[in-house]
Symmetry: C2
Subunit: 140 residues, 2 copies
DNA sequence: TGCTAATCAACAAGTCGTGCTAATTAGCAA
DNA sequence: TTGCTAATTAGCACGACTTGTTGATTAGCA
């Protein structure tokens, strides 16, 4: 994701207004590795700006997603999560605590076999599920 | 997935009753490569057995999933899909028409890098998105 | 300054899936 | 064959997540 300052410029270029709400969300996402949902981001935002609406958070996240500034990750665990890391990366997910981390896989592009003649791959998503070190210690 | 006959035996072993509804669902899933949702499976089932309820379809699919006889695949595209193929395989999804096909990736297990010391991977899911040959022809 | 987008509250709706209840049906073990 | 009990059904509701709408207010920015 671009820096909050760069996003301000991009929003202006696109004719979007740079509101305090949007700027707050830019800052909360910047360098955020927690893979927050719209809801959790809203909670943090509301602490700093009481009165901000969940609707606005959803709205701004959609805009950022459409602009390619955040990744939209759906792990099938309820809510969609947002990732300001838009590098070509993948995810590991702890089945126990739900924590998500970014990982890099360098064997890509992957080869596959199957009844899919002529399929043009545009993107590949890889999710590793298992147990994180923390949870392994707790259960031991 | 096991054959309908084997599933009948497994259900009996587990103390589950073998009802016509369940048997119908077994047959509809057997060899099914369409990755149906509960809803689409229900529609087909209802043609052959008017009166079957969507509730029962959900119920039976949950049982099969819990028994490991079908895979539960969530592509983030709305409803969960079910796959009677429980081999170690992955999926390609056409972004245009939504069709899903099974594919096999032989480079697994994949290596990755990231801040995930001590993470124990239990499973890996790979989804290739893009455009299928059909859709490519239509848009050309 | 003024146009217009953005925000907000409040409410609704849509999708997917599950929970509940009460009545009926029917599998299957003894 | 009987009888216990699970399964099914209809019908309704709810919960989570997300988006739509409306109408009033605020405020960005040319």
């Amino acid at each position: 994701m671009k820096t909050p300052e760069e996003l301000v410029a991009r929003f202006r270029e696109q004719g979007y207004k740079v509101t305090p709400q949007r700027q707050l969300i830019f800052r909360l996402l910047n360098g955020n590795t927690a893979h927050p949902t719209a809801e959790t981001l809203y909670e943090v935002a509301a602490e700093q700006m009481p009165g901000i609406s969940l609707r606005t958070v959803y709205q701004t996240l959609s805009e950022l997603s459409a602009m390619g500034e955040v990744q939209h990750i759906d792990l099938g665990s309820g809510a969609v999560r947002f990732d300001p890391n838009v590098d070509d990366h993948h995810h590991v997910v702890c089945s126990t605590c739900g924590v998500v981390h970014d990982v890099y896989v360098n064997q890509t592009p992957l080869q596959f076999e199957g009844d899919v003649e002529g399929f043009a791959v545009h993107s590949t998503r890889i999710v590793f599920s298992g147990e994180c070190a923390q949870c392994a210690h707790l259960s031991a």
